[in-house]
């Protein structure tokens, strides 16, 4: 029994609003919560197998060159060492999100300092670590480009990432007000708390892999292609993932090394990256240089926008940080020049880090908009409202829904924006207020899920979708519970297993809408089957607390199912609605900062976000996603910065003591509002992605508040003390 929907038409039925269980949208606790708080949820490196060996990766110590030989024999003599491995199947770097094939492979060519080039396997972790630290690599260095600012760097300007409309130069000349500035953001790292890890073992010719995977469907093909086996011979499990934020979209070097070693040694092998290896050998968000030109008339209405961005990347990688992705449609302005440059360098691979594109692109745009607000003397909220376009200015498409004005109003009201007084002090702290808009593109990916209604009235949901902290276990449970009228304690959700129906996976804020829609469709089909059994229209069927009601007659669900389970597979597929209209989520940030007039230190005192993302499936977990996004923004604004040694490109601050993510004391009690919205173009649940919106522009809000407090405009993130202090008034 299948239900297949290609999203070619808007769905205005709002079916979830008309169900009876009352579970959807509630802040239901995560069903897997008791496992997580007792340490009994098993993450990748915890599914220990009998006779398991431990592998430790060895990194390249030059930026570019060849690995000529390794002294494996010397290491294999050490106690407990079973094997030193390298070779043409080792991954240079993780696969990019949705790559679906192996990334660049081979340990003989070195492309960046930190590239994993060998694996030392031993009976214990301590032996393997000692072996890895003792291994001598014979390398020949080649000339490397280790900085995006290098004169030797090759610069690409892909045609499909350049666009222009009208005459921006003329618009700038004729404008009543202009802003022309360059903003820079440093590299960032995802830094999930769980380092990338894998345990691999073979059963006959089949590879069993426990891994830290966000996208199982793609990861299976990536690992199969990397190892050189059929995807049918890979069983990948990733039921709990300790955070991803993009870094676990594609299969990573640890997983392939573990698989190869397990095959070679005929024993289970675990490989866990050290925190330093996660920094160096997974993905970084590229640093950006962004040149903005804004032209506005006397009322602050934009007549032109120019946005040119430069990012960096390893050779032979197709991904580049899509910095300008949302610039074309956030604000009006008929004259435009938007373009991207990609510099090829020998440094850690650039990849997706939470909200690739908007996280840094909208942050820079929203600082530029604040500069325009200051120049025009127009309130920053009002300035933005004046510039909301009727249609996507780049191509004339309608918006599926547009909630920026509502979010700006709601946020301003909740925060008390109108009541703020500039120029206040609190002891030695200068107080300031800032705001910014949030925007993120919205999409779905093909996703399959199976829902089984058992004879005892319990429900089983199965899909290879992952929960990386995003709340998947909760929301899928709620969707099925709502549609089938079953309480959450009678529903089991199984995730993260390649034997289950293939989902879109977690990434790009599309997971909940994609996997959720597949569960919705499967349940809708089951409802039709139940209605058939009752001889009524499905629309007239009420399902609640395990009871079906039709034509004033109540029947227990378990009686209707009969002796054998009812099963349905739902399939959602993106269609015309993703192309014919512009789909996006919107929001607004407001904050208050204190800047210390003696030290230049900034402390965030309060921060609010108002967001609209279609139907909110779980009010509690959606709020948590926004807290997480906003806190990424706090880090981006104030502390987070990958520092590279220009001589060899290596990441200098490759641990959590030197790369500063926000700690508890850096984050006040943030507040979040959700706006009521149903987006019929998005999917049959009218929901949109919420996992990334909270970071898109958040850092600008804080930087704008610093300017309000001090008059110091920081255009080179993060706003560390050294950048703020010189501009502060004399004591």
């Amino acid at each position: 029994m299948n239900a297949h929907l290609k999203m070619d038409k808007p769905d205005n039925r709002n079916r979830l609003d008309n169900m009876a269980q009352g579970l959807i949208h509630t802040g239901m606790d995560r069903p897997e919560g008791p496992l997580k708080v007792t340490g009994t949820a098993t993450y990748a490196h915890e599914d220990h197998q009998p006779g398991m060996l431990h592998g430790v990766l060895v990194r390249a110590t030059i930026a570019r060159g060849t690995l000529d030989s390794i002294d494996a024999a010397a290491i294999e003599k050490l106690p407990g060492i079973r094997k030193v491995m390298h070779g043409d199947k080792f991954l240079r770097n993780p696969a990019q999100g949705t790559a679906n094939e192996a990334p660049v492979q081979g340990s003989s060519e070195i492309y960046y300092l930190g590239q994993p080039v060998a694996l030392v396997v031993a009976e214990t972790f301590e032996q393997a670590r000692h072996g890895a630290q003792s291994l001598e690599l014979q390398v020949t260095a080649k000339s490397a480009v280790t900085s995006p600012d290098s004169d030797d760097a090759k610069v690409e300007t892909p045609d499909d990432q350049q666009s222009s409309m009208g005459d921006l130069d003329a618009a700038m000349k004729d404008a009543a007000y202009t802003v022309e500035e360059t903003y820079t953001t440093p590299g960032h790292t995802s830094a999930p708390m769980e380092p990338h890890a894998a345990i691999a073992w073979w059963e006959d010719d089949k590879l069993i892999l426990r891994s830290t995977s966000q996208m199982v469907k793609y990861n299976v093909n990536e690992v199969a292609d990397s190892v050189g086996i059929s995807a049918d011979d890979v069983h990948l499990m990733s039921p709990y993932v300790g955070g991803g934020f993009g870094s676990k979209l594609g299969i990573s070097p640890d997983a392939v090394a573990a698989a190869l070693a397990a095959r070679e040694l005929g024993a289970p092998v675990s490989v866990a990256m050290s925190r330093q290896q996660v920094f160096e050998s997974t993905m970084r968000r590229s640093e950006t240089v962004q040149h903005f030109r804004l032209a506005a008339d006397k009322d602050g209405k934009l007549t032109g926008i120019g946005h040119r961005a430069r990012v960096s990347q390893l050779p032979d990688e197709s991904f580049s940080e899509p910095v300008t992705q949302a610039t074309p449609f956030l604000y009006r302005g008929e004259n435009r020049e938007i373009g991207m440059e990609i510099v090829r360098i020998n440094s850690t691979c650039a990849g997706s880090v939470r909200a690739p594109g908007e996280a840094v692109g909208i942050t820079a745009l929203e600082i530029a908009m604040d500069e325009l607000a200051v120049k025009t003397g127009i309130d920053p909220v009002e300035l933005r409202k004046r510039n909301i376009p009727e249609k996507d200015p780049s191509d004339g498409r309608d918006f599926s829904s547009h909630t920026l004005a509502a979010a700006l109003d709601d946020g301003a009201e909740t925060f008390g924006w109108k009541d703020r007084t500039s120029g206040q002090t609190d002891g030695e702290w200068l107080i300031g207020y800032g705001m910014s808009s949030a925007v993120r593109v919205n999409m779905i990916g093909e996703s399959h899920a199976r829902v089984t209604l058992n004879p005892d009235g319990t429900v089983l949901i199965e899909t290879d979708m992952t929960d990386i902290g995003t709340g998947t276990y909760a929301i899928l449970t709620q969707i099925a519970g709502e549609m089938l009228g079953v309480s959450q304690d009678r529903i089991e959700t199984r995730l993260g297993d390649s034997n289950l129906p293939k989902s879109a996976g977690s990434g790009g804020s599309w997971g909940a809408s994609s996997a959720g829609s597949s569960v919705f469709l499967a349940c809708e089909k089951l409802r039709q089957e139940i209605a058939k059994k009752l001889g009524c229209d499905e629309a007239d069927l009420t399902l609640r607390d395990g009871t079906a009601t039709a034509a004033n007659k109540q029947t227990p669900l378990s009686d209707l199912v009969g002796g054998s389970p009812m099963e349905s597979t739902g399939v959602i597929e993106p269609g015309k609605t993703m192309k014919e209209v512009r789909q996006a989520t919107f929001g607004a940030f407001f904050c208050e900062v204190g800047v210390n007039r003696v030290t230049g230190e900034t402390r965030l005192r309060r921060m609010h976000g108002s967001f609209a993302a279609g139907r909110i499936l779980n009010a509690k977990t959606a709020r948590s996603q926004c807290l997480g996004g906003m806190t990424f923004g706090i880090g981006m604004a104030l502390t987070e910065e990958l520092i590279h040694d220009a001589r060899d490109g290596h990441i200098v601050n490759r641990d959590l003591g030197e790369y500063h993510i926000p700690v508890n004391a850096d984050v006040p009690q943030l507040t979040v509002n959700f706006l009521e919205e149903r987006d019929p173009y998005a999917n049959p649940m009218q929901s949109k992605g919420i996992g990334e919106l909270g970071i898109c522009g958040a850092a600008a809000c804080i930087l704008n508040a610093i300017h309000d407090a001090t008059g110091v405009r920081v255009r080179d993130l993060p706003a560390t003390m050294d950048k703020v202090l010189p501009g502060l008034p004399d004591l």
Partner: protein, 169 residues
């Protein structure tokens, strides 16, 4: 190297390489994988356990240094169906997302509440002696050794205040 560890009330006789950290002993030798490895350098707090009543980073300590010590890990604080007050409050307030830092957060909070009861001041305390209210600032400061990249911090603060009985709900 032979070491006797009393973990969650049960004596475990460990015979491990002297280089084995307490964290790796728990995870790799005793299959107590509730304690997490996030950095192995004492920078993230995911490996926090309680040793003789005090919270420590188990990655910064060798197992063989703990002969005879009483160790409490997350598994010793409660189990599904029998959660401690803090564990239940973390579920209720969504004091986590991915869950990886959570055992460390809860072990840390368990010991932290005792530190407050014992009159230990923190960096944000007004005085070095006396009693301390569990304000948001006190909790945030005292919990800042436990990183959470999902950034459940506001919910962690709420969960701890709730479990400590400061918030009626």
């Amino acid at each position: 190297m032979k070491t006797s560890l009393k973990i969650n009330g049960e004596v475990h006789d460990l015979d491990a390489d002297s280089r084995t950290t307490l964290l790796d002993a728990l995870r790799n030798h005793l299959d107590l994988t509730g304690t997490k490895k996030g950095c192995d350098h004492g920078q993230c707090g995911a490996c926090t356990v309680i040793v003789n009543g005090r919270r420590i980073n188990s990655c910064l300590s060798l197992a063989c240094m703990h002969d005879g010590d009483e160790i409490t890990t997350i598994e010793g604080l409660g189990q599904p169906g029998n959660l401690s007050d803090l564990q239940a409050a973390f579920v209720k307030h969504d004091g986590y997302q991915c869950g990886y830092c959570t055992p460390g957060q809860i072990c840390s909070a368990t010991a932290m509440l005792q530190e407050v009861k014992d009159g230990w001041p923190s960096h944000v305390s007004d005085s070095l002696t006396g009693t301390y209210d569990l304000t948001e600032a006190e909790i945030s400061e005292r919990m800042s050794g436990n990183l959470c990249r999902c950034a459940a911090y506001p919910n962690i603060v709420d969960a701890i205040r709730d479990a400590a009985g400061k918030v009626q709900s």
